[in-house]
Amino acid sequence: MLPHLINGIALGVLFGLLALGFMLIVGVMEVINLAHGSLFALGAYIAMEIVNPGWLAAPNVGYLGLPLPLRYGLALLLAPLLVGVIGMGLERLVRRTYGKKAEYGLLLTFGAALVLEEGIRIVWGKGEQNMPVPDSVNGSFVVGDLVYSKYRFFASFLGIVFMGLTWAFLERTPYGARVKAGAHDSEMVRALGINISRLRLFVFAFGSGLAAVAGIILTPIWGLRPHVGVDAVIPAFLIIVLGGVGSFWGAVIAGLLVGITVGITGGYAAEWSVMSMYILLILVLSFRARGLMGKKSALEA
């Protein structure tokens, strides 16, 4: 049981990270960003290009002569920034749907997801790609009789770091306070003289950047192919609904719960491992319709 529980927690951190960017955008803008998965994939592809540029032919010379951990670190910094800029462009398009029916935003981001995925196919092709990771975090280690993946625990560690940074930003900076206020009551924030349009632009970029971070960290485990974003967007959506829309801790706790549920089910009834997260969602929503830490709706007040 213990190995499966530890594995589930490690997996849960990664699920939590996957949902963070999605949570921010839904929370502040009330837009279900169906392009989250494509931004996740795009982040991984851009990072792959930064770590190992295909157009640089000579290995171990010039940029490719730099140590892999350095190039990986650079990718972890630059790829989310670039995807954040693309997220800004997407927000400028989504902006037209604010205050209108929710379906418009949903359809627009769905369309954007298709365009981004096709764009990836055009640039990088349909086939499987390889997201390189430093040798020092690759391979395995043995505890007792069991072999564990080093990278999985490194990925979980990175996940905790990025969650911590996101928390610190939201809770410890004035801008984070504005983001939270924007999520709570955007009209009041606007009335206080804060430029809500700029705030939304920033949040979309930040959420997109977090999607890219999740892509860079998760694709060495899941594999990298143009439609890998589809694998990401469904659990991300499930986790924010489970955790409560717009709640940071809701996303983190829901991610951990899903990870533990999938991990333990995988160990004892693997055929139910994918289904188990949906059963968990049904169970939680049956008793708590707004999710674990979601805001009370007017009907419940």
Binding site: H4, L93, R95, I122, E128, D145, E271
Partner: protein
């Protein structure tokens, strides 16, 4: 506002680019040469999205190359050949809908293409209803030529039992008797693992457990922990599509590829193309490899490259090969029958025999008239660690003649509908 315009322009460019690209490999391929006679339309039922999208693309390319070559020879019975491809989405319900549409609206003469056994089964039920000949090009579930066989359906891939027959006995002798099965939780996975189970126990081996893996699994950590707890000597995996790619990466990360003897049933070329060699641990089966040292192989590779300059996969693999040969053999059967009448063509296909030299395999191939499955050479391979060539991925370990790997259960289970109960179809 300006930024929005730029973004919109970029989006439009991407969409247009995508649309242009689609035109190259899109819905209707291999345009016929102008002529007075009505074209013969081939309905392509390959998966273009979902778990088997990548393999579906290879399958379709194989079918299209056979059509192009036939059109270059003057068409079929003097008629040009057209194709209509619809995405079966790796979903059986979509497969049924697509097959209905191709037959009823597009008036296709034949249905060709399959990756998923669930989809192939669904398409074949529709085909049998109308009497349309259907070529299951690449689904390797044993049930396709056993309990789910049909008079109109012909299966062109080796199946799970064929591959297990080729691998199990020698693996027990070489690696040990304690076997663990990792099985994709759907038709093909179950059928293949059941075949392996029977062969292992018949050969004196012991199944220490079976782990069922749902389709769409991306995280195999729990499965791999559980596998270790079972302490097997051999792990036989019947996992396909994107699932097997994720599994291979994670096994490789945990360095478990060398800890156990891995027997991976069939390994489709599009599933491994582009993977690092370290991810290609274990022994796996295939029906064909582009590095076979046989006459005609180099020419076939060159024809593939000429016909598919846009393909990410630079050399043809088993999936393309099956798509191509199924379609080409169909055309040859039609020419022999001198008609597209479905009963006449079925009778020709049931007698099909192709010499090894023609099919670029080590042994002669033939169609089993009782099960409608192509009996052919089964190869076992492993990763070629001696080469850095991205296309020279496999090292062929053995080739086994079709009669040595025959699926005896299929003969008993397959009950083909009589001709009288199969509608005559002649487009």
């Amino acid at each position: 506002m300006r930024l929005a315009r730029i973004a919109l322009a970029l989006t439009t460019l991407l969409v247009l680019g995508s649309a242009c690209k689609k035109k190259g490999d899109g819905a209707t391929g291999a345009d016929p040469k102008p002529g007075d006679k009505a074209p013969i339309v081939i309905g392509i039922t390959a998966d273009a999205s979902g778990q088997y999208a990548n393999s579906g693309d290879s399958d379709k390319r194989g079918i299209l190359m056979a059509i192009q070559e036939q059109n270059a020879k003057g068409g079929l019975l003097g008629r040009p050949i057209k194709s209509v491809a619809l995405d079966t989405e790796t979903t059986p319900a979509t497969g049924s809908r697509v097959a209905e549409r191709l037959v009823k609206q597009e008036k296709v003469a034949f249905l060709v293409g399959a990756m998923s056994s669930g989809v192939a089964n669904a398409v074949s039920q529709v085909a049998q209803k109308y009497g349309v000949i259907y070529l299951n090009t690449n689904s390797s579930s044993p049930s396709e030529s056993a309990e789910n066989c049909h008079r109109v359906k012909f299966v062109w891939d080796g199946n799970g039992t064929n591959f297990s027959q080729a691998a199990v006995k020698s693996a027990i002798d070489k690696f040990g008797k304690r076997w663990l099965l990792i099985t994709n939780d759907y038709g093909w996975g179950h059928d293949t693992s059941n075949a392996t189970k029977k062969l292992v126990t018949d050969a004196g081996g012991n199944i220490v457990g079976e782990i069922l893996v749902p389709q769409g699994t991306r995280d195999f950590s729990s499965v791999l922990l559980k596998a270790q707890q079972k302490s097997p000597e051999v792990i036989a995996a019947a996992v396909g599509g994107d699932d097997v790619k994720a599994m291979r990466m994670q096994v490789s990360q945990m360095k478990l590829g060398s800890k156990y003897a891995w027997i991976n049933n069939q390994q489709d070329w599009p599933d491994v193309y582009g993977l690092p060699r370290t991810d290609m641990f274990g022994v796996f089966g295939t029906t064909w490899y582009q590095g076979l040292d046989l006459p005609g192989v180099k020419d076939f590779v060159a024809r593939y490259q000429k016909a598919n300059p846009d393909a990410t996969i630079k050399t043809p693999g088993n999936v393309f090969y099956n798509g191509y040969w199924a379609t080409r053999s169909l055309f040859e059967a039609v020419e022999k029958a001198k008609t597209t009448n479905s009963h006449a063509v079925i009778k020709e296909l049931e007698q099909l025999k192709i010499p090894a030299a023609v099919r670029m395999q080590h042994h002669d191939a033939y169609m089993n008239p009782k099960t409608h499955q192509m009996q052919q050479t089964i190869y076992l391979a492993t990763a070629n660690l001696d080469s850095n060539d991205p296309d020279d991925l496999f090292k062929i370990l053995s080739n086994t003649a079709p009669d040595q790997v025959i699926d005896k259960d299929a003969d008993a289970k397959c009950k083909l509908e009589p001709f009288e109960a199969t509608p005559v179809y002649e487009p």
